[in-house]
Amino acid sequence: MSATLIDAAQKQAGAPSLDFEPINVEARFENPRATIDTDRAKNWFKRVFPILWVNKWAFSIGIAMTILAMLVGVALPAMTGQIIDELPNAITGNQPDHFLFLVIVMITLTTLRFIFGFLGNYQMSRVSNQLEADLRSVIYNHLVTLSFSFYDNIQTGQVISRANSDIKAIQMFLMMSPMLLTSVLSFVFAAVYMLSVSITLTLAALVTTPIVYVLSMKLRAIMFPLSWLTQSHQADVAVIVDENINGQRIVKSFAQEQNQLTLLGKAAKKLQWVQVRAIDVSSIFNPIIEHLTVLGQVLVWVYGGWLVIQGEVQLGALVAFNMYLMIIQAPFRFLGLLLQMEQRAKASAGRIFEILDEQPEITDRANTLTLKNPRGVLEFDNVDFAYKDDPVLTGLSFKVESGETVAIVGRTGSGKSTVVRLLSRFYEISSGSIKIDGIDIRDLALKNLHFHVGQVLDEPFLFSISIRDNIAYGKPDASQAEIINAAKAAQAHDFIESMEKGYDTVVGERGYTLSGGQRQRLGIARALLVNPPILVLDDATSAIDVKVESDIHDALVNLMTERTTILIAHRLSTISLADRVVLIDEGKAIATGTHQHLLETVPRYSEILSQQNRLSEGGSKS
């Protein structure tokens, strides 16, 4: 086996494209055509705007339809008024032809409004849903580019919350704001009609509107925090219930039933308190707001009635006037709502930008090299590394030959795990270099590097998919035979087969339906399926039986003789599987050699080991 190096120029010259990315899913939807503006100086709306702009045609059609629906609808009340004005004529038997014409026109307009209204409403919703989907994808697509250091510092729950309520807040504002246009347009039409009927009547009609507006704003301002607090108290109750269901055995064990009941009682009382408070507020405001609006109507009928009696206004016009009154009040309410929505959308956008503005710490260099079939010679040369300001490695150097199995030993916190994470370039070293087959890993494409270095971590994360899909995670198109072989090598095949659904068993949340040892074996099978020339086992067998562990290592050798393997282990049984041990202390590799050799020559080595293995002879104590 020999390593082949393909450089960028060669690749362009028509060599087979090597992507090293497993894809076994068919794209059924197109990726978002735009993302947010990266210029942080711009205001939030401008930054989100590109996502809106790619949907401009769909969006314009929606708006156009909505405006058309409004235009055909706005004439209806006036026509109703005309029919009513016909009524006295009807009694005397005049002008029936004109009447028929009016009815036909009105039916036509209502039908048109139905069609345009449906199209506009549906189209706007579609655009809005598209926008939400695009925002979700944009965030996800960005998240997968970020590095380990980002994920060390986030709380998953918060990111999910941003992906939820914050996206909704932005989506709602973006969709509602253009509606202001149609709303204002219908306001203008209604106002023109009303003023043409009577200026004073219009003023009288609108006398209560400002009060209603102020009261509604005030009500919303009071209710908003109340409803958030209600939700939060509901969540508190749910947490207590959840814990008492899942931790019921603990509750019973310590006879805590009464205390827990009281705890829930308090939470339920608080929930009741905040809900009652909301009820008290709204039961004062709501009737006032509702009835003040009706009071406006009463004024119109009294003053308008007087105007009709005076002969200044027709009865039909008065009826129509009342209908326009409803239309004219809507924009006021809408505007108040919109202002509040803008506040929320802005805050939400800020939180989403925080994620999207996060730059991936580790990226490919400009002209990356691509390594094919590496031999697996590793070299750490004078490597320095610090987490934030906390130096972990200072001048670490060691070499691993192709096909060698090396155990890294050191006390807790000495940076053993860090060493192997640096090998995959999950973090960036501050100085020195790490080389694979003599090539600096920073010159390799990240995907290429990850393809060749398989990592198995001690707490193996399993996805809640089937065991088969978990094993095939790194190679989704693997055949059944490949999967079974990997499972066999990891000594997992037997326990998988003993399960009712075998490889189709869906692993529960985070894999907690399996024992620690079983999870670790699946983690190893997952790495073995890819069959990487360089394999890292970071305390990956801690919960596995000693005998099973040595079977796994036998299988590893069978799978690939020239595989380079790095082990991090505490157990002597694991360390004994290695050809050689590298001892790390205080950020440096202080000694290397076989286990026996180090035991005999380096006192520090047995000191560290005994500290870790005090228990292995604990039995003989009694």
Binding site: R113, E243, Q256, L315, G618
Partner: protein, 640 residues
């Protein structure tokens, strides 16, 4: 955790994600007024089982007068609301057309006066009904939760946690909706529909018939169609968003794997597919609601136009048989046309209520089932309160099985003297853990009896038994809250000194000193997440604090990383001192520290004695020990 949040959020099935930061200040201000209910002290009894099957009727019966009062108020508000259209007719016919301004003033006075009364009554009604509903919800929460606490462990292993959770959240909410909106609306809308039809009939019979026979069925059919389609659609939206979020959640938690396996592209496509399916589900409901909202508008105005047209014809007297009495007036026609959309409103709401009633009814059935489930481990009606338990345990000829055909334990007898430590060893599934659960009375044996200090477990009060007997299970369960809260769980009144003492006893004082927030560190947040060994030690500290007379460690020290192992051994030394203890351990090193070792196998105890005795017997235990020794010596470590 479905069912939280505003109507909109719950329709889309989004979980509650915390109060947004810009709101915190305002909610904090609110919480300043919030009473902390510290004097609330609910009494819990294992006895009080549900007397009658739960039903809406007997749940509400203590409040029947208040309910009747509420309904009376509802009727009043509806009647007052309909005065308006009638007054419009009077105004047109009696004042505007005959040009009599004084009548107009009268009409206005009555109208405004009725508005004041209506406003007052409806405000009072909202407050009264709302408060009553909240009180009922509070009582129901307590009642269901208390019953959950009463139920035995087998119930919790059989039922899925999510389903039980739904009983306390979405089912109670469905019921609350039914009581606060459903019942009130049913009465309100029915009354309003009857009133409206009455008034319309008084205006004109034929026009009313047009409305009832032609327009109403169309509207009804449309509404039923929409409710069916949209509830199906929303269920689909909820499932799709759950897919999106669970994928996001898993990707975030497993991002290190995504990166190291180069799965980025695959996952992007996969996520986009889920997001796309979610979008399509949303589009489906959007089409239904766009159709429905434009169609109702259409039916509404088309009906108004038809009413006006027919009314016109009646007035023109083109068709005299439509109005034989000739009492139909212009005012009546205008008022009639005005009432058309008011007529449709109760029809639409009543259809909506049908769904609410269905889910309310389903919730009642599920709650009845839950509240009707008796605990399998029952407390006697006059139980013995055992004080100062010594911890002498006698197991007499017991048999036990989870399912009838598979006996787990058969005719087992055993005596554990007070202050002695016994460990159970044996193959997986032999019933070690079951035996421990029987001693703790999480289950009752099918045959035989277990005595503690010569009292039958079944005669003791469950509380007195459990407060002197501590169990530490395999999975150390931590509650929401700080480390302190979690340790203190077993003894709410423990002082900080006691807690620190417990921490020292199990050797986590250095861990706690290392944490910036010390004992107040929250247990659940990611940044401060504790290792499984540390969690295990916390669970032991919890047991230490409760000072039990009998301690049962059910695999409490397995699954522990090597570093914590030595600490746990030290913790056990402190913990077991002077107590009766039952240890189940798969590590022989832990099992060996017991006074007596019992090998549980083939539904009974096959070997028992001290470590040396059992080694001498060359039986199952000796063989186990042999394998274990080989594994550990396989590494030829010479140890000083």
């Amino acid at each position: 955790m479905k069912g939280f949040g505003s109507k909109h959020a719950s329709a889309a099935g989004l979980p509650f994600a915390g109060i947004p930061p810009e709101m915190i200040e305002k909610t904090n201000a609110l919480m300043k007024d919030e009473p902390d209910f510290n004097d609330l002290n609910l009494t819990f009894s294992h006895q009080a089982s549900e007397q009658q099957p739960f039903s809406l009727l007997n749940f509400l019966s203590p409040y029947k007068y208040r309910m009747l009062g509420a309904l009376g108020l509802v009727g009043m508000t509806e009647a007052l609301l309909l005065l308006g259209p009638y007054l419009i007719k009077v105004a047109i016919d009696e004042a505007i057309i005959p040009k009599d301004f004084s009548v107009l003033i009268w009409v206005a006075t009555i109208w405004i006066f009725s508005l004041f009364i209506a406003g007052f009554v409806s405000g009072f009604r909202q407050r009264y009904v709302g408060r009553l509903g909240q009180l009922l919800m509070y009582e129901l929460r307590i009642r269901v939760f208390a019953h959950l606490q009463r139920l035995s462990l087998d119930f919790f292993t059989k039922e899925k946690a999510g389903r039980l959770m739904a009983r306390m959240t979405s089912d109670i909410e469905a019921l609350s909706n039914l009581l606060q909106n459903g019942l009130v609306n049913l009465v309100a809308q029915t009354l309003s529909l009857l009133f409206i039809i009455g008034i319309l009939l008084s205006f004109n019979v034929k026009l009313t018939l047009i409305l009832l026979v032609i327009a109403a069925p169309v509207m009804l059919a449309m509404t039923i169609w929409f409710k069916t389609v949209s509830s199906k659609g929303y269920a689909n939206v909820r499932n799709r968003i759950a897919d999106v979020l669970s994928d996001l959640q898993e990707s975030l938690s497993g991002m290190r794997l995504v990166i190291s396996f180069n799965r980025m592209k695959h996952n992007i496509i996969n996520h986009r597919n889920r997001v796309g399916d979610y979008r399509d589900a949303n589009n489906y409901t959007a089409r239904a609601s766009a159709t429905y909202s434009s169609a109702t508008m259409f039916v509404d105005s088309a009906t108004t136009i038809i009413i006006l047209a027919v009314g016109y014809l009646i007035l023109v007297d083109v068709n005299p048989e439509l109005d034989p009495q000739g009492t139909f007036t212009v005012g009546a026609l205008v008022a009639f046309a005005n009432m058309v959309s008011r007529f449709f409103k109760p029809i639409n709401s009543l259809v909506g209520l049908y769904n609410e009633f269905q889910s309310g009814n389903a919730a009642v059935i599920k709650l009845r089932e839950l509240l009707g489930t008796p605990p399998t481990v029952k407390e006697k009606s006059h139980p013995i309160e055992i004080e100062d338990m010594r911890g002498d345990i006698k197991i007499q000829n017991i048999s036990f099985s989870y399912n009838e055909n598979e006996p787990v334990i058969k005719n087992l007898s055993l005596h554990i003297e007070a202050g002695k430590i016994i460990s159970f060893v044996g193959p997986t599934g032999a019933g070690k853990s079951t035996l421990a659960k029987l001693i703790a009375r999480f289950y009752d044996p099918n045959k035989g009896s277990i005595l503690i200090d010569d009292y039958n477990l079944k005669d003791l009060s469950i509380k007195s038994l459990h407060s002197q007997l501590g169990v530490v299970p395999q999975e150390p369960f931590l509650f929401h809250g700080s480390i302190k809260d979690n340790i203190r769980f077993s003894n709410m009144h423990a002082s900080s000194d006691d807690i620190m003492k417990a921490c020292k006893a199990v050797g986590i004082e250095d861990l706690i000193e290392r944490l910036p927030q010390g004992l107040d560190t929250p247990c659940h947040e990611r940044g401060s997440s504790l290792s499984s060994g540390e969690r295990q030690l916390l669970a032991l500290a919890r047991a230490f604090l409760s000072k039990p007379r009998v301690l049962i460690l059910d695999e409490a020290t397995s699954n522990i990383d090597q570093q914590s192992e030595s600490k746990i051994e030290r913790a056990l030394d402190n913990l077991l001192q002077g107590r009766t203890a039952v240890i189940i351990a798969h590590r022989l090193a832990t099992a060996m520290r017991a006074d007596i070792i019992a090998v549980v196998k083939d539904q009974g105890i096959v070997e028992m004695g001290s470590h040396t005795e059992l080694i001498g017997r060359h039986g199952y235990y000796a063989e186990m020990h042999q394998t274990w020794m080989q594994q550990n010596s396989g590494t030829n470590l010479s140890h000083q």
